[in-house]
Symmetry: C2
Subunit: 172 residues, 2 copies
């Protein structure tokens, strides 16, 4: 097996998004069992000027689909960012996974030097494919994914690293 | 430029660890300015059964040095995990960076199929180099790095995504 732009991107995003879906399922069950209004968890933040849980998931989804679509040179699906329930958030994760899985390895491989331009903080930024993936898309994806996890964990949802990583792991 | 095991590991860890050092500097300055006992931040957690800030940094450091050392097939430096001050935590980050920078690209490249065995949750787990890096070491590293960031952010330290990513970015 050789490391390729595909191996370093699509399957990793899909695996982590599947974990996120399982974590969302646990949060949904926790809210039902504890009679917590789901919107309390969905709009929770770790600090007043941080994004809500739902926004963290939306941005993680955007970085995953953005990376795969841009590296492959295909049009990115547009999502409305209007999710308000666990069902809608899980549907967002599911369609992100479906989009990533629609892209084939051959479309992504060889994209190391592909020129990629995107808006960051309102300004156009141009990257080559390789630094875009390893120094921008992956750190951003993990940033919002882990922050989403931490918001739930901080609110008492019983999840642990084995939900995040889907393999035997230590507690957080 | 071609994606290689080196490009996907060592420079990414170093870049994120440099950001972590800068975040640690801001936390240290924040504690001094607000007359907060540094140990309050260093031992903070997001939930009672989660690890403290210092432990999150130690584990992020371990995953970074572990990945680079194991992929290169060199002996891992042992750290005592006894950091108790900002100075000591920053020294831990600095020696992790120095170790990673002591490893050359040629030692890591070609390690896709290298067999790597490590203890996970008390049990031996064996990986090939490629899945070890992209499906274990990187997600674990980011998990503890972002959780460390979130602990500080939750405690009011004025940091943002541009500190984490060291490039223009949006707020968290």
């Amino acid at each position: 097996m050789t490391l390729s732009m595909y191996e370093a991107s699509a399957p990793c995003f899909v695996s982590m998004l599947r974990s996120l879906d399982s974590i969302l399922g646990k949060a949904q069950a926790h809210a039902a069992a504890k009679k917590i209004e789901p919107s309390v968890l969905l709009t929770a933040r770790l600090f007043p000027d941080m994004f809500t849980f739902v926004r963290q998931v939306q941005i993680a989804s955007d970085h995953a689909k953005g990376a795969v679509g841009r590296l492959a040179g295909v049009e990115l699906p547009k999502y409305e960012d209007n999710e308000q329930t666990f069902e809608e958030v899980r549907a967002r994760v599911a369609k992100t996974i479906a989009f990533i899985e629609s892209v084939k390895a051959g479309q992504i491989n060889g994209s190391e030097d592909r020129e990629i331009t995107l808006k960051v903080g309102g300004k156009d930024m141009t990257f080559k494919g390789l630094p875009y993936l390893v120094s921008f898309a992956l750190p951003n994806f993990y940033f919002h994914l882990v922050t989403a996890y931490n918001i739930l964990r901080h609110n008492g949802v019983e999840i642990g690293k084995r939900d995040y990583l889907a393999m035997p792991g230590n507690k957080t």
